[in-house]
């Protein structure tokens, strides 16, 4: 099946209310409606989902692995950005 007729789509599934959609995998489909069907049939066979998003893989803008150092390295040394210096009152519970 040619890539033009059956483009690639990324599938995101929300397992339960209150959770966010998580990337599940990808499928080939002719258009948006068929992509939803394929995502449902391939990734929610065992009750995994409450909601599905599909998006054309070509519409996703991704960071370039070459830019990894520039993009992510600087944050590694800034531990003060992590909220680990605060004492959390017991009443608050897990954050």
């Amino acid at each position: 099946m040619s890539e033009a007729a059956m483009p690639l789509w990324e599938v995101f599934i929300r397992a339960r209310n209150g959770l966010s959609h998580k990337h599940a995998g990808s499928i080939h489909a002719t258009d948006a409606e068929m992509a939803l069907h394929a995502a449902r049939d391939v990734y929610t066979r065992r009750g995994e989902g409450q909601s599905i998003w599909v998006v054309r893989s070509s519409d996703i803008v991704a960071s370039d692995p070459v830019d990894k150092d520039m993009m992510f390295e600087p944050t590694a040394s800034k531990i003060y950005r992590h909220p680990t210096f605060y004492e959390i009152p017991d009443d608050v519970g897990n954050m």
Partner: protein, 260 residues
């Protein structure tokens, strides 16, 4: 007293027959769809067809188990599904038609789903609680089958010249098996009158509307209704059923009572 008893016996026999034929429809169609497993045009559609087949198997199991209970002779779902002879099967002829190409499989499933969708919805208000419960579960499943096959009909009909031609051929080949869907024999009549069954003849207008709406969008036409094949409900089948059964029944015939 004995009169009342006979009436109950008779209606139990009718209910058994009514439930059994519905079970046969789902088992045979499911077996046909299962033949696509590993062979479908794409991985996605392979799973989609297998999912539909599994829905149908689930419905068949519930129906066979209930039929065995109604019959009261101790036959379980496996014995009813696997240990009967060809002429004892009462499935609609359309369910046993070969998969053909993808267009034939889709048209067959589309025709049947457009029929079973309103069928199960009406069965939900059956006086028979078990059938009503089976219908409630099945109707959600078949609504998806109808939607999925409808989308394919539209894309294949309004797709390439070849996909369009193949759809025209599939519609022509399968049209003659659609008359049987709406037949009401004595068993169906008795079940309708006792508030258990569905008036299949009354589903025809809705079926035609559903099918024609989708076909129109697909730039296809429903072929003119010519001669209609019939006989499944009385065990008179096409040559295909015997071959299906030889594969379907092989394990239980070789190892009777085998379980997973």
């Amino acid at each position: 007293m004995s009169g009342t008893c006979e009436t109950i016996m008779a209606s139990n026999q009718t209910l058994f027959s009514y439930v059994l034929r519905l079970a046969d429809d789902h088992l045979i169609l499911s077996q046909r769809l299962g033949e696509w497993c590993g062979e479908a045009p794409t991985l996605e559609e392979d799973l989609a067809l297998a999912n539909i087949a599994l829905d149908l198997i689930g419905q068949a199991r519930a129906l066979y188990a209930y039929a065995g209970q109604v019959e009261g002779k101790g036959r379980n779902e496996d014995q009813l599904a696997f240990m009967r002879y060809e002429r004892d099967y009462q499935n609609l002829l359309i369910t046993e038609q070969p998969n053909g190409d993808f267009a034939h499989t889709i048209v067959r499933q589309f025709f049947i789903s457009a029929y079973m969708d309103p069928f199960w919805r009406r069965m939900e208000s059956s006086k028979d609680e078990m059938l009503a419960a089976i219908a409630a579960k099945a109707s959600k499943e078949v609504t998806y089958h109808l939607r999925h096959t409808s989308e394919w009909v539209i894309r294949l009909g309004d797709g390439t010249r070849e996909s369009h031609e193949r759809m025209v051929e599939a519609l022509d080949d399968l049209m003659m098996f659609t008359g049987e869907l709406f037949e009401m024999d004595a068993v169906a009549q008795e079940m309708l009158q006792s508030g258990v069954g569905v008036d299949a003849s009354d589903l025809k207008a809705e079926w035609q509307h559903t099918v024609q709406t989708i076909l129109q969008e697909a730039t296809l036409e429903l072929p003119k209704a010519g001669h209609m094949q019939t006989g499944g409900r009385t065990g008179r089948h096409s040559e295909h059923l015997g071959h299906i059964l030889s594969e379907l029944q092989y394990m239980q015939r070789s190892f009777p009572g085998l379980t997973w």
